[in-house]
Each structure stands twice: as C-alpha cells, then as structure tokens.
Subunit: 170 residues, 2 copies
C-alpha cells in the first residue's frame, strides 16, 4: 500500500489555498491543502504498525513549531507548479529530517522545499498568466503546527488519513 506523511495548515490557510486549487490544481479533490513531509512510500499493511511506532517516537521527541508563510513562489522552469512558500524554519526542517531516518521506509526524495501547492500541471502560457496575477497578492501567515498525519492512497489517487501524531506527545 502507498503511504505518505503530511501536515495540514489551519483551516484559514486551507480555504485560501483551495480558492486557487479549485481552478488551477487537478489534485484539488484528492487531498486537502497540505505540506508534504514525506513523499509516497510503499509499506506492507502487516508492517505499517512498526512504521507507526517509529513515527510516534519521532512525534514524542519533536516539539510543536511555528509555520510561516510569506509569499507565493513557483518551481518553474522545473515544473509549472505554483505554491505558498513555507519558511524552512528549524522546527519544520528538524521534523522532516527525523522522518527520513534510515529505519523509516523512503520513497522518492527531493531536497526539501517546504510548500503548499496551489497550482500545478499548467501549460507554460497558463503558468505565466496565473503566476503573473497571483504573485502580487500578499499571503502572510504564522501559525503553530502541533501534529502531522500518516495517510494512505486509494486507487483513485485520493488520500485517507490513517493516523494522527501529536508533536510532544506521540
């Protein structure tokens, strides 16, 4: 089964992200707006409880942290993906690093650029238009993140939450 790890920002940020995703992100219906902490990885259903135990230990030993969003940015020219840029603050980077320990299964790994996707799979022209009009809008948020979620993927590509982990608790 395919699993992934993500955190959800506040409802306020999710609502704003969705106002863009609805028009510009074909993954709009598959998962709420999120920061991917660990890309999809394969794990056996019979062994997922071992992973859960490790994630619980990571959560227990990580304190809640501040999530800061300052602006929109784009992964262009690599991909035509526009996102809310999340500051790579210590707490977030530390959590990401712990989730990539060698004893937790890993999928594809990229260098970690924390973000909330709001538009993707745009043509070059769409990307120019959309980014041109969105980049001027101010998006500044600061909030506290006190949990992350382990999800699994259904056949239609959507994601269901398997378990919540509370930072500082497990």
């Amino acid at each position: 089964m395919k699993y992934g790890i993500a955190l959800f920002p506040s409802k306020q940020v999710q609502d704003i992200a969705n106002s863009y995703r609805k028009r510009y992100d074909p993954h709009y219906a598959l998962i709420p707006p999120h920061v991917t902490l660990k890309e999809a990885f394969e794990a056996d259903e019979d062994h997922i409880e071992e992973v859960v135990q490790k994630l619980s230990n990571v959560a227990k030993n990580t304190q809640p942290f501040s999530l800061n969003i300052n602006k929109l940015s784009t992964f262009s020219p690599v991909t035509n993906t526009i996102y809310m840029k999340v500051e790579p603050a210590d707490g977030l980077m530390e959590l990401h690093q712990k989730l990539h320990q060698s004893d937790i299964p890993n999928g594809q790994t990229f260098s970690f650029v924390p973000h909330i996707t709001i538009a993707q799979k745009l043509s070059d022209d769409e990307h120019s238009d959309v980014y041109g009009s969105l980049r001027m809008i101010s998006h500044e948020f600061e909030e506290t993140i006190d949990r992350f979620q382990l999800l699994y993927q259904l056949e239609n590509g959507s994601w269901t939450v398997y378990e919540t982990f509370r930072l500082g608790k497990g």
Copy 2:
C-alpha cells in the same frame, strides 16, 4: 468551526465504494468513503481540545470491533441515497452511543442506521435504474475497526482530519 466524526473502512472497501461514488455521489471529492458516527456539529476552536479529551476517553474505554457489510440498500423513499449496509453490531452501536453522550456537542441527530453512502441526490428515475442494477451485486466484507477520526469542514465542503482516536488506546 464545523466538526464531524467518522470511521473509514479498509482501503478495499473504500476502493469499491469509490467505483460507484465517482459516478453517483456528488460528495465523492469531499471525503473518502466512510461511516458517519456523529453528524456535523459546531464547536469553538478554542474549546475543541475539551472535546478531544472526551473523545480520547471514549476511545480508551471502547474495544476494537468487527464491521460487517452484507448488502446494498437504499433510504428511498425518504431520500434517493444508496448505501452499503453496515450491520448494527454491538461494538459499533456502543461506540455511537458513547459519542452521543450529553457532554459532547451534538448536531442533527437521526436514529442511527450505519452505512457507507455510494450514491445520493439521484432523481427518482436515476435511483430506480442505479439501485435496480446494483442491488444484485454481492458485497460481503468483515473487517476490524480499531480507530475513528475527528474531522473539520472547509469552506468548499470538504473534510480534513483533525485527530485519530485508537480504540482501546485513546
């Protein structure tokens, strides 16, 4: 903020439910296939942790139980909603009852007919056609439920998981 409580059946059951929901359920994109345990209720964000504490106590004092699905059924003529019928077994009914204690906020309450919706908001003709063709298909599943989820609703109607509660654990 609007909260609700649901349990998700296995990936296998969710995939089958989605194969119907994709065509017949306008809520397909808003939440994965689920059994609603508590209809939407309003709760103040500042007080949700009190609710979480109560739900955690309910979970701690409730053992995992068997979920049995035997057939499809319909709420017609009340509404043109077709669903996988979930047996009202003791464990499930007990959990439902505990989640409706007087000290946990309640929304609209119906008598509890546990189900997984696979089609809704059909016209009378659509309902006849769809139910006529689906009712002959055998759907028998037995699985163990060991968790439930507290979710909140975004402005677009979709639901994000706030917390997972493990039965027998909290």
